[in-house]
């Protein structure tokens, strides 16, 4: 029962490359045995083909200070479990190259009722963006790049 409120266990956060739709589908399927869940909320971040100074972003290459990011994610997870009545929670982020149109961030929360799910999902997404030391290089079609910054 690795997915239920195992508060202390370190969890796998980073996935090399894009997060596949199959991985997400499999995550959903794994919850069918947890019949106390009444609501899931899923947030996915997708790489956008922004046009910056006439050049289009083809991919983002993610890197991270992994040890610190895992600690921050652990704290965010603990904090979400304290604030919201959740059954389980999963957070995944890509490392390496993710092409425009592919998924790089996947947050999945489950609860008895929808309200807690909506609130927890928003909280987790904002916290990860603000606190996880993840860096992104936006690569253009001509091979040049700029460094992405969260707002």
């Amino acid at each position: 029962m690795e997915q239920t409120k195992t508060k202390k266990k370190p969890k796998k956060v980073f996935i090399e490359g894009a997060i596949s739709p199959q991985f997400i589908a499999d995550s959903i399927a794994k919850h069918s045995t947890k019949t106390d869940i009444g609501a899931h909320n899923i947030f996915m971040g997708q790489v956008r083909a922004d046009v910056i100074e006439g050049k289009e972003v083809k991919a983002i290459e993610y890197s991270a200070y992994a040890e610190m990011a895992e600690k921050e994610l652990h704290n965010i997870r603990e904090s979400a479990f304290e604030q919201f009545d959740l059954t389980c929670m999963h957070i995944y982020h890509s490392l390496g190259t993710v092409k425009a149109g592919e998924i790089s961030f996947f947050v999945f929360v489950s609860s008895k009722h929808r309200d807690e799910c909506y609130k927890a999902s928003r909280f987790i997404v904002e916290e990860v963006k603000a606190k996880a030391p993840v860096f992104g290089k936006e690569i253009f079609d001509d091979g040049t790049h700029i460094w992405k910054k969260n707002d």
């Binding site: 971040g45 983002i60 993610y62 890197s63 991270a64 200070y65 040890e67 610190m68 990011a69 600690k71 982020h93 961030f105 997404v125 990860v128 963006k129 603000a130 606190k131 996880a132 030391p133 993840v134 860096f135 992104g136 290089k137 460094w147 992405k148 910054k149 969260n150």
Partner: protein, 77 residues
């Protein structure tokens, strides 16, 4: 004393490497001063400092082999 400094993201590009060892520093202010002297680009950069994986704002005392990370703006999520 000596500490290990790690660069991330765009700072790796600018510094031309991802780690550097800095000797003879007692506290974070001294370290930042040394780094900003050696890597003048840091002066105009927006970055956070983490000591042993915790973001630190104050001028704390450092310990031998502390891991100091310079973190440019985050882009996760």
């Amino acid at each position: 004393m000596k500490v290990n400094v790690l660069f991330f993201g765009m700072l790796i590009e600018k510094a031309g490497g991802s780690t550097v060892i800095v000797e003879n520093v007692q506290n974070l202010s001294e370290l930042k001063f040394k780094l900003e002297t050696q890597y003048s680009f840091l002066d105009e950069m927006n970055y956070l400092v983490a000591v042993n994986q915790e973001v630190v704002q104050d001028n704390i005392e450092l310990n031998e082999n502390d891991e100091i990370a310079l973190l440019p703006p985050y882009a996760g999520g």
